[in-house]
Amino acid sequence: MNEDRITEKLNILADAAKYDVSCASSGSERKNKDKGLGNASNGICHSYTEDGRCVSLLKILLTNHCIFDCAYCVSRKNNDIKRAAFTVQEVVDLTINFYRRNYIEGLFLSSGIFKDADYTMERLVHVAKKLRTEHNFNGYIHLKSIPGASVELMREAGLYADRLSVNLEMPTEAGLKLLAPDKNRQDMIDPMHFLNKEIIRNTEEKKLFKNAPMFAPAGQSTQVIVGATSESDQQVLQSANYFYRNFNLKRVYYSGYVPVLADKRLPALNTTVPLVRENRLYQADWLMRFYGFHVNEIVNSQNPLLDLDIDPKLSWAIRNMQAFPIDINKADLQLILRVPGIGLLSAQKIVAARKFSGLGWEQLKKIGVAINRARYFITCKSNEFERRDLTGQNIKQFIMAQSQSKYIQNTQTQLKLF
């Protein structure tokens, strides 16, 4: 092995892959087979980069040669950068050796498009096949499905990979047309349709035949870039909601645009990454998936943008004061989940613990409720509760006066730097 050459390739191809945010390695229940290597289960973050993102998978491109010219992408055809390409065997060796040392949960392999979609996809599938069949590797494999690749290749990919994903790139079709004129949204949606159908069919099959082969057991996900074009949060979240509902996606990732190129269609190179917005989008995404909120409750035509000062749940609560206060010792779990300052686990604990005795402030605090926020919205076994008739705006001011957002602090220090 030529160490220097591999190192150089790894640097180039890891660097080019890092803007793909997905690093999930959970959701697949692949077991260790015949005393082979590895298994995929709950998902483990083995390390964290200095920007605080999790490192769970070896995330690399097979190559950064690309025939497309998408404005937001570092690997675009007309960008003057170093190009490199791994051989199939090199990727396999890296994966196995990193995995054996407990550095990673598995492989996330993507690629620039060289020659055509099928030619590229074939090589991605080849890596996965080699890992599974020659090395009895049962760790996690996430493959990018290349838009436009043949149905046969997609099906084969699903047999070896745990997760497949197609990046939508831009939240709306118009955004995509503007920045990636070579790409066609329908080409991205077609494989998602196909995979969704196959996954459903496979689930049915599994019910009948236990030994039916697994097909992408961790499902599919996608990613949209936010802040590169002018979409509102309402458009972003509604598009996410559409894909959750119609394609059974496991996750939609929101990637705050990192300025990589000077282009008049894009935000200037010195723009800061929209970290707060990205965070608020993820919070809203969680509200939709775990807290029983409908997308229209979070963003709508009156409120097309998420509030950057406060989280979306608090933001919803102060717009809907008529729903409060609720009695923590009586209300349904679904209602408790809607209280700002009460998370999923705390809500479940409340419902379990109140069977034994009525809960007061002290107990709620111990259970993990953020009282400074929740106190305006609940009553409990105590004579103390918020008696003033406060408006939503009042509450927002009180809460913001008490708490210092870590993000606001962050942007301030960033401003000082420039």
């Binding site: 591999i6 890092k18 077991k31 483990i44 980069t49 200095e50 070896l58 407990n102």
Partner: protein, 254 residues
Amino acid sequence: MTMNTLIYDGTFEGLLTAVFEIYERKLYPVKLLKGEWRNSALFEEVIPIVTNEVRVNRVLRGLRKKLSAAGVQRLYISHMAEIAGEDCNVLGFIRHVFDSDQNIEEDYSNKYVMRLSEILKMVRREKHRMEAFVRFQKLNDGTFYAAIEPDFNVLPLLTKHFKSRYADQKWMIYDIKRKYGLYYDLHDTQFIEMGFDEMHKPVDVIAAYSEDECVYQNLWKNYFNSVNIVSRKNTRLHVRHIPRRYWRHLTEKI
């Protein structure tokens, strides 16, 4: 009321024997100490507890009647983690179990139930961190070796995960703090103790690395640096995810 001080051997069985003693002799209030009993003037009333299998089983049967199987398991783990000063809370939990008519596992407004759930959360996090932060190094004989220094005694909890994952390689995870390790020989795992200090000087250990070990360590460090996005730097978040005390065993942070 005088304080009754009980001293036991630190094992879970010892703890259960102590519980038996407390109920049998109606001791209250009690203080539980770990260690060997020495005739010391410091303690006026010290009751040494000798672990007794019959009593252990009686208490265990009682616990199983009043708790779910998972509840007993959680209790066991909370004690095994060996967190200093928590014995009184574990004991308090057991008393609450026996003093109530119903299963109190989810009675989170009780301080002992809440504390046990906190302990468990800490232990599970530590276990999960170890599953993430173990960094194996390949030795000449093909064994993959890793050293750890977890805050709590979590090595026994790691057996299942590593055994089912690394089934086709020999490996050893060694807890430097508690001076014992877990070794897998391709068939089964066993706990072992080694006299590392004298027999293997650090130099020998480095000489024992396999040829390509250094190559892959460097590749991993390179990878770790390449995936960082400088314009999103967030040191606070980084350190919250990987507290500094873990760095010395992380290849990418050395």
